[in-house]
Symmetry: C2
Subunit: 257 residues, 2 copies
């Protein structure tokens, strides 16, 4: 299995603190050592770092921890291989372009007997169930809305139907973003926390590190953090329900599907 981390904000924010705890699970405090990846949206662009090494030992992960990339939407993933061998093409997040925007996807879980017969434009490069699911989502969306992106509410409705269909094949927790919205679908384990004023000092579970967000934020800042398991031990993490789909925008829950 794998672990997911997502961030959605109203002002460009760095993920250094949360990433420090998360990456420790990739080979040090956790067993997810078959690669990792992180995608940062900046404006319409996307910076995607992928590595087939354990995140706890990766030079690229050190760069990401030390180099504050500020972003409104981030998706990260550490991998314990189930489907597909350890290789760069099987490393999450996956990225494609649809409607003139980049879309990024990462999955936690395992699908069985999932072989979509899409003849669509999006095809897998690697051989994971996860990338096949991502391509199926995009192919279906593109067939439903060939010309342009629908409204967030229409998108949420379509995504819920597609996701429920895929989830019949096994465990299907995922994060998906187009740089504007961040969607989180929970099959078993996804938790989130909404950080806003008054900010607190947060303490990581996986490392003995604290940060006082009062020193780093302004009163209007809002940050939603979504993770397979809570990353801090002194904040109010909410556990998502099974089958729940949330759309985050500007650090708030915009809609529930």
């Amino acid at each position: 299995m794998c672990q997911l981390l997502g961030m959605n904000c109203n002002v460009p924010t760095d993920i250094c603190f949360s990433f420090e705890g998360f990456r420790a699970r990739g080979g040090r405090t956790g067993l997810h050592s078959d690669g990792w990846g992180i995608a940062f949206f900046e404006d319409q662009g996307c910076r995607l770092f992928l590595d087939d090494k354990a995140s706890a030992e990766s030079a690229i992960a050190e760069l990401v921890r030390d180099y504050p990339i500020r972003s409104l939407n981030v998706i990260a993933h550490i991998r314990k291989a189930t489907h597909g061998h350890v290789a760069l093409q099987n490393t999450h997040p996956f990225q494609r372009e649809l409607w003139g925007r980049y879309w990024v996807f990462a999955h936690n879980g395992e699908l069985k007997d999932f072989s979509p017969t899409d003849k669509g434009r999006f095809r897998s490069v690697g051989n994971t169930d996860s990338e096949a699911a991502f391509c199926h989502i995009l192919n279906t969306l593109q067939q439903q809305y060939p010309q342009q992106q629908p409204t967030p509410v229409e998108l949420l409705k379509s995504l819920r139907t597609i996701s429920n269909g895929i989830a019949r094949h096994g465990m299907f927790n995922f994060l998906l973003s187009n740089g504007e919205l961040l969607f989180a679908y929970c099959a078993t384990d996804l938790n989130y926390v909404l950080r806003k004023a008054p900010f607190c000092t947060a303490h990581l579970i996986d490392e003995d590190v604290s940060v006082d967000f009062n020193e780093l934020t302004t009163p209007d800042d809002r940050v939603a953090l979504i993770a397979t398991l809570p990353l801090t031990d002194n904040e109010n993490w909410a556990k998502m329900a099974r089958g729940e789909l949330l759309a985050f925008h500007h650090g708030r829950v915009l809609a529930r599907g």
Copy 2:
């Protein structure tokens, strides 16, 4: 204008030496300081580093210089903005998926009155002439070969026709790779060198750095290096002809179009 660097090999090779000279042109020995990017293919996967800072001063460029990523196909680009503002979405190389493979593209030059009216599947995310050209190439290839990738010779033939058409709009030097083949199209400036045994000691033009390839290679290694301007001052760089299209494979020129 911009500068291009490509590498195509028969064994996974790091580009640290060449990249050291190339990145100096991004703000130190050259004026191409509006961002840079580099794509490394590893098996079917692709690692793409993008930065909208000058390569000479970029923390990510330092990582790439110091961290030997071994690859059969590499494309790098340093940018002097002409079309499109300085932003991550306008930073080359651009990446898309076609026929279940990643394709990576970088352009040197400037196109005028180039507004393809494609209704195809590939759309620009940013607003450069370069990304529009890349999408036009992929849309045309996909329309000509909807199901699967044609042979390298068919691909070369199609690419030549498409490229000649785009080149009517201005200066159009580009590098394009699917991780297996590397295509180089020359409008004005592209040079290449084929490194093979017996290897020499090469000396960079932009930095006073030499490397003895005898110490790093085996007698069967072959490396093709393609660049806007030669990177070393003691090797036999060949200048490509105007309108010439080359397909490199395993460090050799596979075909000329």
